[in-house]
């Protein structure tokens, strides 16, 4: 369990995110904790103190399919429902060996900024090299329904911010030239 590390004031209390969500199925879910003054937190929207983003205080769902391998390696697809409950964005303020601290706020702007500490292990491997003070992140909380199982999900994404350079456009030009060459040299029908 990771705890937030907001540093000031006696009126602050630890807020375990899991207590703000109605479902208690915590299996396979990381559970970072936010530390924030309770009187500054504006949990709003639907009942059960659940922050809900989306029209009519309902949540967004998407429908996608997950391809998996069945018996004898035969692939099949299962429908997956995903319900987004909350999105935060934030800025990394400190990185240690195993954890990092970020200042985060609800993406819809309807809540207080908070500070939270996360496990580096919860960042996708390919994003970890982007993890440094000043890095931008998103934190998504939601529910996934698949094969009859409803579980809470939590995902951290370190945002990719491109560095503009002459090289980028040069690279684009070179790819374009290759495609054009291939197109012009392709046999034509007729």
């Amino acid at each position: 369990m990771i705890f937030g590390q907001r540093a000031t004031g006696d009126r602050q209390r630890d807020v375990d995110v899991s207590t703000l969500l109605p479902e208690k199925d915590l299996a396979n879910v990381m559970t970072p904790r936010l530390v924030t003054p309770l009187d500054e937190v504006q949990w709003h929207g639907a009942s059960e103190s659940r922050r809900v983003m989306g029209p009519g205080s309902e949540s967004y769902w998407s429908r996608s399919r997950l391809a998996i391998s069945g018996p004898r390696g035969i692939p099949f697809e299962v429908p997956r429902g995903f319900q987004l409950v909350a999105t935060w964005d934030g800025v990394v303020s400190a990185v240690t060996d195993d954890t990092f601290v970020a200042r985060i706020s609800p993406l819809d702007g309807l809540g207080a900024e908070e500070e939270a500490e996360f496990l580096i292990d919860d960042v996708p491997q390919e994003d970890r090299r982007l993890l440094r003070p000043g890095a931008l992140l998103y934190w998504f909380l939601g529910y996934e329904t698949m094969l009859g199982r409803h579980r809470r999900t939590s995902e951290l994404k370190i945002r990719r911010v491109t560095v503009v350079s002459e090289m980028a456009e040069a690279w684009a030009d070179s790819i374009s030239a290759i495609i054009l060459d291939e197109s012009e040299s392709a046999p034509t029908e007729g």
Partner: protein, 230 residues
């Protein structure tokens, strides 16, 4: 045990897209370019190798898709779209990153668009036409008139940007008796973009994104409320 397809069948389906109008070079919209400049993470792009998601890149047309993002480009349109609710912010980031890199791309207009299918209780859709376009108004010329599609245009008064917001309401084709809402947040960049570059579009994606998403939610909630839903 709950059938997951049933469990999710009653939930809204929401799509989000960025559509740019201008002059584009589809031949560069290749997954390798996205990988080279880290617009998308490598694990996302691995899926492009699967047959269903294979990239098509020609001088006139480019298309590829990954698990959450669809990219389609012609010489005058560039579209990025997602159906995944937890990827909407990443869609914005992708748009910003692409046109930061391709900063000299002439862009004349941009739409931040949302489409959504909402299930409604039986009979609720019928309350919308009676409010927005009552059949009685057509009584002098038609015995039976029904609303198939309604588009309303509103000014973007809060930011003063050239353009408009169009809200379309129709019966959903995905949910029987449900509501389909499309919101086109259109930005006309021609007049304010003397150098015809990508910067104004990038600026709007950066600063106006949340407002556009919130506006969609507001209009949709209004329509659902008119229909007696919640």
């Amino acid at each position: 045990m709950t059938d997951p397809s049933t469990a999710s069948a009653e939930q809204p389906i929401v799509g989000t897209s960025i559509v740019l109008v201008g002059s584009f070079n589809p031949a560069i919209i290749h997954p390798s370019w996205f990988a080279r400049f880290e617009i998308l993470p490598p694990s996302d792009l691995e899926a492009v190798d699967t047959p269903d998601l294979a990239a098509i890149v020609t001088p006139e047309f480019a298309r590829f898709a990954i698990s959450w993002l669809r990219v389609q480009v012609t010489v005058d349109h560039f579209e990025l779209s997602t159906l995944e609710p937890d990827r909407v912010p990443l869609l914005r980031d992708a748009g910003v990153n692409i046109f930061r890199l391709l900063s000299h791309t002439p862009i004349s207009a941009m739409g931040i668009n949302r489409t959504a299918h909402y299930p409604l209780k039986s009979g609720q859709w019928s309350t919308l036409p009676s409010t927005l376009a009552p059949a009685s108004a057509w009584a002098p010329v038609a015995d039976a008139a029904s609303l198939v599609s309604l588009t309303v245009q509103v000014d973007r008064a809060d930011d003063g940007d050239p353009g408009f917001i169009r809200i379309t309401a129709e019966p959903s084709q995905r949910f029987a008796g449900g509501l389909f809402v499309a919101v086109n947040d259109h930005h006309d960049l021609e007049s304010a973009n003397l150098h015809k570059e990508a910067a104004p579009a990038v600026d709007i994606l950066g600063s106006g994104w949340s407002k556009a998403i919130a506006a969609h939610d507001r209009y949709t909630k209004f329509l659902i409320g008119l229909a007696g839903g919640k």
